[in-house]
């Protein structure tokens, strides 16, 4: 990474609000990784907007000193795009859980991606609905027994990595708080990437998850893609590796489009500049209806 003199330290991004998360929750590591990533990027807290939906993980903006917006369930992406369109110079982050992002918010995901705003979207994926007491989520494995699938879930889980890749996301990564330095680095890289960047974090739920699938288990099972010789510049390789979602815990950059497509903000600005010379002064707008 570039060695720029840090403007802020990680602790400058930590707010005074105490998390409601259960001790042992993976999200404690995720927020630390975000503090580090923001410090490394070098933007000041007041230049950053952090938007989330509803869920345990969606509380995260309140635990940073950035401008936060803990909005409503599944609607973080539309709101984040409105903020970015209004002020493209802001650093915009969006976050939420797997339910918030892939269930109720799932309909917004393809449209956010195909517009390609320069936004970083972090999903804390724990395969359960924690805030409402343990119902199944769209990434819950088939057969999982929960309070709403007492006889075992009948549905196949979604594959978030394939989702976003097939919608056309130019930057896709997966991490875990079990490797905090690695997670901080990939979040930093996601923020620096010019375009829609998606980071799926396997952040286990200590209250409703299996005891054998907590952070300790991640440390043992995680496989760094960089050590497996994965080439993140080819979409086909990325799609291939993402098929292992649910069976393998691959960490690192899954896909990084080597030719970042133009961002939505850039295209809008270009059109505004092109059409500006044709504008009538506001006080002369009714001239449009003038019959000469």
């Amino acid at each position: 990474m570039q060695a720029t003199a840090p403007v802020c330290a990680p602790k400058d991004f930590k707010s005074d609000l105490k998390p409601i998360w259960c001790p042992g929750c993976g999200d404690y590591g995720v927020v630390q990784a975000i503090y580090r990533a923001l410090a490394a990027v070098g933007r000041l807290p007041h230049e950053i907007a952090f938007i989330s939906g509803i869920g345990c993980s969606s509380r995260i903006p309140g635990y940073t000193t950035a401008y936060g917006f803990n909005s409503v369930h599944g609607r973080a992406l539309p709101i984040a795009q409105g903020i970015k369109m209004a002020n493209p110079d802001l650093l915009v982050l969006a976050a939420g859980g797997d339910g918030d992002g892939f269930s109720i918010g799932g309909g917004h995901l393809p449209h956010a991606i195909r517009r390609n705003p320069d936004i970083t979207y972090i999903v804390m994926d724990n395969q359960i609905y924690g805030l409402t007491k343990g119902q199944l989520s769209p990434t819950s494995p088939k057969g999982l027994h929960t309070v709403t699938s007492g006889y075992g879930s009948l549905e196949n889980p979604v594959n978030p990595l394939m989702y976003v890749l097939s919608y056309g996301a130019p930057f896709v990564a997966q991490g875990t708080p079990a490797d905090l330095p690695g997670l901080a680095e990939m979040i930093e890289e996601a923020i620096r990437y010019p375009g829609f960047a998606f980071v799926n974090v396997q952040s286990p739920c200590v209250t409703y998850g299996e005891e054998e699938q907590q952070i300790k288990a991640h440390k043992a099972s995680m496989k760094r893609l960089s050590e497996l010789g994965h080439d993140p510049s080819e979409l086909i390789r990325a799609l291939d590796v993402s098929q292992a979602y649910g069976t393998e815990l691959h960490t690192g950059v899954v896909y990084r489009n080597p030719a970042p497509p133009p961002t939505f903000e850039a295209l809008v600005r270009a059109r505004q500049q092109e059409l500006a010379p044709r504008a009538l002064p506001p006080e002369r707008i009714l001239d449009l209806f003038l019959q000469e």
Partner: protein, 175 residues
Amino acid sequence: MSTTRGIDFAHLSLQDALDLAVLIEEEARERYEEFAEQMEVHHTPEAARFFRFMSGNEEKHRAELAARREELFGDAPAAVTRAMLFDVEAPEYDEARVFMSAREALRAALRSEEKAHAFFVEALPRLEDGAVRALFEELRDEEVEHQRLVKVELSKLPPDPGFEPDAFADEPVAH
């Protein structure tokens, strides 16, 4: 999974080694502080008190090592950064549990000391600098002493009754 990245133990200088030792203590101190805060928020006061005590200990060690570093090397820029180490002496995030007893908290600390000890033991054969070796041996022996102290504290505690706290505690709340 190794707990350090990008550290060339063979060519580690004494300054680097001291910086590394300081960061190890700093990471542990911060993690114990985090845990203490979590425990306070979650009404688990005995574990909170113990984690505060541990964070104080780690800070003491850090300060000692930092003072030594200052004396020998002043404020020369450090090459070793926090990004190069993770969970060396700091208890892992999922060591924390709501309602954990003081005994469980001490056990978590003991595991962390054992982990740190193993780190120094494993690194020693790879070190080539004599002064660095001496430092690591000293740190290794200190970990043994820390473990002994924690074990003494453990022995003073009454035994866990063996009942899970969940047997009596309320169910989680839906929001």
